[in-house]
């Protein structure tokens, strides 16, 4: 089943990830970090299914390594655990490392979700209106790469079947020469193709008038509501930052602000995609059980 949040307008998707990833860069408060990891992991799991466990678990060793390494470089802190190479290894620095590692994990999780939700066509659709020529260029480049790979394979296959493949005994020089030949053939083939593409573009009026951009996605009522809710929650979270609710210093001494309403707003914000996903699954379940 497709994810409900992915079906929203790309602008909503994009704003959400700007908020989620942007916040994760600045927040070091453990409660917020915890909320970030849990919500990020849940949504990542919902998006990718069971096999996502592997990815999430593979983040764990990375988390541990980053945590343990930090005190080696950062010797500030008051509670000394032991000494490494004559330098202090402190609890504060270790916790600080954990916080930094969490930030990293959160970012990895949300970027993973971002990749799955905001596909390249959504991205170009979003920015196509601002810079039509560049977004078209990007699109064509995206298309070109797999095309090139396919054609290269075709050329190599064709050369192999007339005995011009790279033999097992070929020297490096021969291999390089052969690669050059294939590359040359590929270039002329691609140039030939691009002439046709150019003709096809001009035949369909490219450059004849000012370009507009077709938006396949439309802002629906739900999208507007989501957008407002997101902006409100984001606003509240930012306000919480001004009230000093994010404050968390680890070194030299631990000083963490008490948990307050800011955390609620932040968590709600991060739960939006998950909530949408669950809501839709639930509705689907109900409507199916009615049949």
């Amino acid at each position: 089943m497709a994810d409900a949040f992915s079906k929203c307008h790309p602008a909503v998707n994009f704003l959400f990830f700007v908020g989620a990833i942007g916040m994760s860069v600045v927040i070091q408060h453990p409660a917020y970090l915890f909320a970030g990891i849990v919500t990020g992991a849940i949504y990542y799991l919902l998006l990718n299914g069971k096999k996502a466990w592997k990815t999430i678990l593979s983040l764990l060793p990375m988390f541990l390594v980053l945590t343990v390494i930090n005190p080696l470089f950062n010797t500030l802190g008051v509670t000394k655990l032991f000494e490494v190479f004559g330098r202090k290894y402190t609890i504060e620095a270790l916790l600080y490392g954990a916080a930094l590692a969490s930030m990293f994990v959160i970012m990895m999780l949300w970027f993973g979700c971002y990749n799955k939700v905001l596909t390249s066509d959504k991205f170009t659709c979003l920015f196509g209106n601002l810079i039509p020529s560049i977004s078209l260029l990007l699109l064509m480049v995206f298309r070109m790469v797999p095309n090139f790979i396919r054609k290269t394979q075709q050329i190599i296959g064709a050369r192999m079947s007339i005995g011009k493949g790279i033999s097992e005994t070929a020297t490096t020089k021969e291999k390089i020469q052969d690669g050059g030949t294939v590359l040359g053939a590929l270039t002329s083939w691609a140039l030939e193709g691009s002439v046709v593409t150019g003709d096809s573009m001009r035949a369909r009026g490219y450059g004849a008038a000012k370009r507009s951009s077709f938006m396949i996605y439309r802002m629906t009522g739900t999208d507007w509501i989501l957008l407002v809710v997101m902006l409100v929650l984001l606003g509240v979270t930012i306000a919480a930052a001004f009230f000093g609710q994010f404050v968390a210093t680890f070194v030299p001494a631990i000083d963490i602000a008490p948990v307050s309403w800011g955390l609620a707003a932040y968590t709600c914000y991060l739960l939006i995609p998950t909530a949408l996903h669950i809501k839709e699954a639930f509705q689907w379940h109900i409507s199916r059980s009615k049949i």
């Binding site: 298309r143 075709q154 192999m160 007339i162 046709v196 573009m201 369909r204 009026g205 008038a209 507009s212």
Partner: protein, 552 residues
Amino acid sequence: MAHFQIKDLSFSYPTAKGRKSLDGISLSIEKGEYIVLCGKSGCGKTTLLRQLKSVLAPHGKKNGEILFNGIPIEKVSQRDQSAKIGYVMQNPDDQIVTDKVWHELAFGLESLGCDQKTMRARVAEMACYFGIQDWFHRDVANLSGGQKQLLNLASIMAMQPEVLILDEPTSQLDPIAASDFLNTVRKINIELGTTVIITEHRLEDIFPYADRAIVMDGGKVIADDTPRNIGKLLYEQKNDMFAAMPTPVRVFYGAEGSGDCPLTVREGRTWLSKTYSEPKVNTLPVDALDEEIEHPALSLKELWFRYEKDSPDVLRGVSAEVPTGTLYAIVGGNGAGKSTTLKAVCGVCKPYRGSVKVFGKPIEKYKAAELFGGCLAMLPQDPKSLFVKKTVREDLCEMTKDEKKIAEIAAVCEIEGLLDSHPYDLSGGEQQRSALAKVLLTNPKLLLLDEPTKGIDSFFKEKLATILCKLKEQGITIVMVSHDVEFCAKYADMVSMFFDGQMLTTDTPRRFFGNNSFYTTAANRMSRHVFSMAVTAEDVVELCRQNVGAEV
């Protein structure tokens, strides 16, 4: 007022040293007409079509005038030309600009700066009309060739053109996708009244429905009449283009029939039953197939292959034996695994089960140099993938330094005059022959051909057939994979049907196509109710002659 009025148009390319590619062409094309433009490759069809749209018109010296709706074409604005004159080219892949189907559909409208509402409506309309809604959100890369070409057409139709110009649109498609595409074009012409100007090799599918056929030769219009009259005219002139006419036309004139010339298989059937209601001779001799093949050039045993570990099997137990010195054809649907079989023979694909023996020796036992130097070679589907140099001569020199050998092979493939051209400047048929020459320079005893007739016209097909016959005389065994049933029926010694990853039946072409009722040649479909085992136009003509002789 005519839609297009061409007055005494001449054109020559800057490099042609005064040779005219178009020479004094005068034509008038009415609104809503369906016009077929035919002629040999290089007769100026494409050059003429491109003149009808200024942005595509090549540089060169032009005389004469083209009026579009009464206005000289140069004076019609870019915008109007883009919207009103739609142009579909040969290559389905390269014409596509964007990466998503929906975006490609909207591309023309975006260029014209349409607003969202109009675009939305037009795109939806087109997607429904062309049956694209099911793959509307797909990546372009995942479409088949036929779907791609349909998308190109739809994307142009979204701009609601008045004229649709198609330059060999189906040359890269398989027969089923091609007739789908051509039916859609016809539907557009009938239902929307869009003027259609089309050039095609596959006249069988469009000739009967055209309002007019225009035949070009050497940059001149040599005939401009209804399809029925064109057939007669070409027959009387003994023009090379007669070979490209649909089978019923060729049979009718070949058998010197009287009355109205049939254009479709149905008309052909009616005509045959009227003329030969009780034929005295109704079948042709059928050679039996040798069951035992001694010293096969190629033998495949139970080949199994898949491209990826989790993907379905493409080859599912392919077995075949190819007798030495024959032309062996493998026919079958798209994606059945025919090309993969050839790749397995060459070792480009490695089957995970089964064995390939070339001249009785397992392929693994050959060294690459031994196998591809004087034993086995393959001509790939796209001849362009073999060209790596700037001229055909340099490309041939890549294979051997022996000038004499090159000259000899060039003579066999009839490309002596093309040696100094850039391979990309050649026509499809010429490219095919140049690539074949390159392949032949390895001195293969077993030659594999993947779709050798794709995208080449009937004239070049005959040339190719002559070359293949010459090679066979030299003792070369040829294995050919093809969609072209007419070609296989005429020239192959054995035909195999490939289906569902297996080689199902193998027989001589006469028995193979004679016993099929759907997957067979037009000649057989047309004549099967009066004659049996007649699979080519020549067969049917032969039987007609015999019957005429018997009556006397």
